[in-house]
Symmetry: C2
DNA sequence: ATTTTCGTGATACGAACGTATCACAATGAT
DNA sequence: ATCATTGTGATACGTTCGTATCACGAAAAT
């Protein structure tokens, strides 16, 4: 049966299997055999396409980061053509919240990798640690632009606010992940804090694009139940 | 040599050893033999005082939570007699930031446990998941009190702000842990956000107790270097 | 004084894991 | 048509892990 096969594609499939298996069993508990079974191939094949477990893990992380990037881009694109700074930031931050199965796995494994990177220097050297840095730079730039356009409340420091938003989103995500907080409440808290940064929409001319102002929903949902009807 | 021995104390010592070993090797990599070696006892003793690894891990988590609680209390007590709401909140949040070796280990292992709890229901059922809940309730109450005393900026929602602060602190902590952010920058961002919640100090009568207003240090240090001279 | 219980060490066991080896079929090159 | 290369399966190896077993010394109970 051994036809010529696309290595990159094969590796991607196996990485996908790793992500699925790790999402189910936990990254610490997943073994080569689990990945092989999940991918529907033999153990040997996993060994063949990734020489060692460490390389598999590394590639899995990169694969995950790539998929996450695509997800964020898609969300931003879905915010419509030429979205305002707030819409972009909102899409960016919301993409990181574990609201569905896919983003839940993202957050789960990202956190697991982060924990591993504390004691594994090969992982610590990986650029995924620097990804948040890039995200922060992006949000900072966005906020600066918004500040220039007078969209922010006075006295807002774009750099500090950006760092805060990213950390907030990450912290909320973890809260959702461990079941301490619902996805709805996390979103509400996020919206609340965006409202504290962005100037409230003025009631003038054309209807505003974003922020349908569930500012009060924030307090209601902040502690508790999902928004699902 | 076998004199009568205090079980509770012994278990605490072993749990301490577990924490040290896990802080060094990572929670995923620590085994019973590592704990035994770290505690300077035989493998059998670890087995004797904790029947299984799972029980050891569970006890280790509780032990860690206990020590963390003491740390927070000490920080609050160190804020002086009858400290204001802001001082208490500041102490609470700052205690969670990984600024020294001890708090670093706290954050590292807490996060590791949190990740494990996603796939391990025995861990998920553990009350340490609920501890953040209690902290959030405390901060919310504190903020409510402060709001009543007119210490907060108008329009602040105590519940949403409390949730935000806790999540912010957790997120910043993770950033510091993985080396994406320095302890100094995390503290600065935290201070910035507290400044955005609490009313700025009025320049009246007696000198104010807290908040020496390094509000501008926040922007300077937000991206970068430690505060160490 | 004897017996029972408690604390401790040494060592063994079975399972699971990552990795390595061997064999061989299918393909592309010559 | 032959040969080297590539893809794949089956299986074995050595290690490490959590746990279990056995033995024995010291204290407490009788």
């Amino acid at each position: 049966m051994p036809r010529r096969v696309d290595h990159a594609e094969r590796r991607a499939e196996i990485a996908e299997a790793l992500v699925r298996a790790a999402g189910r069993l936990g990254l610490h508990a997943v073994g080569m055999r689990d990945v092989a079974a999940e991918a529907g191939v033999s153990l040997r094949l996993v060994q063949y396409y990734f020489e060692s477990k460490e390389k598999l893990l590394l590639f899995g992380l990169q694969h995950l980061a790539g998929r996450f990037g695509e997800r964020v881009s898609a969300r931003i694109a879905a915010a419509g053509p030429d979205p305002g700074p707030r819409a972009v930031i909102e899409a960016l931050l919301a993409a990181a919240l574990p609201v569905d199965a896919e983003s839940r796995t993202f957050h789960h494994l990202y956190t697991a990798y982060a924990v591993l990177s504390v004691t594994d220097e090969a992982l610590a050297a990986q650029p995924f640690i620097k990804d948040p840095d890039a995200a922060e730079a992006t949000v900072t730039a966005l906020l600066r632009r918004a500040a220039g356009a007078g969209l922010l409340r006075p006295g807002t420091d774009p750099s500090a606010a950006a760092a805060g938003l990213l950390a907030l989103s990450a912290g909320l995500g973890t809260g959702v992940l461990v079941g301490q907080r619902t996805a709805g409440s996390a979103t509400a808290v996020l919206t609340y804090h965006l409202d504290r940064i962005f100037q409230p929409a003025e009631e003038s001319g054309r209807p505003r694009r974003s922020a349908p102002a569930h500012a009060d929903a924030a307090q209601a949902a902040s502690r508790g139940d999902t928004a699902t009807p």
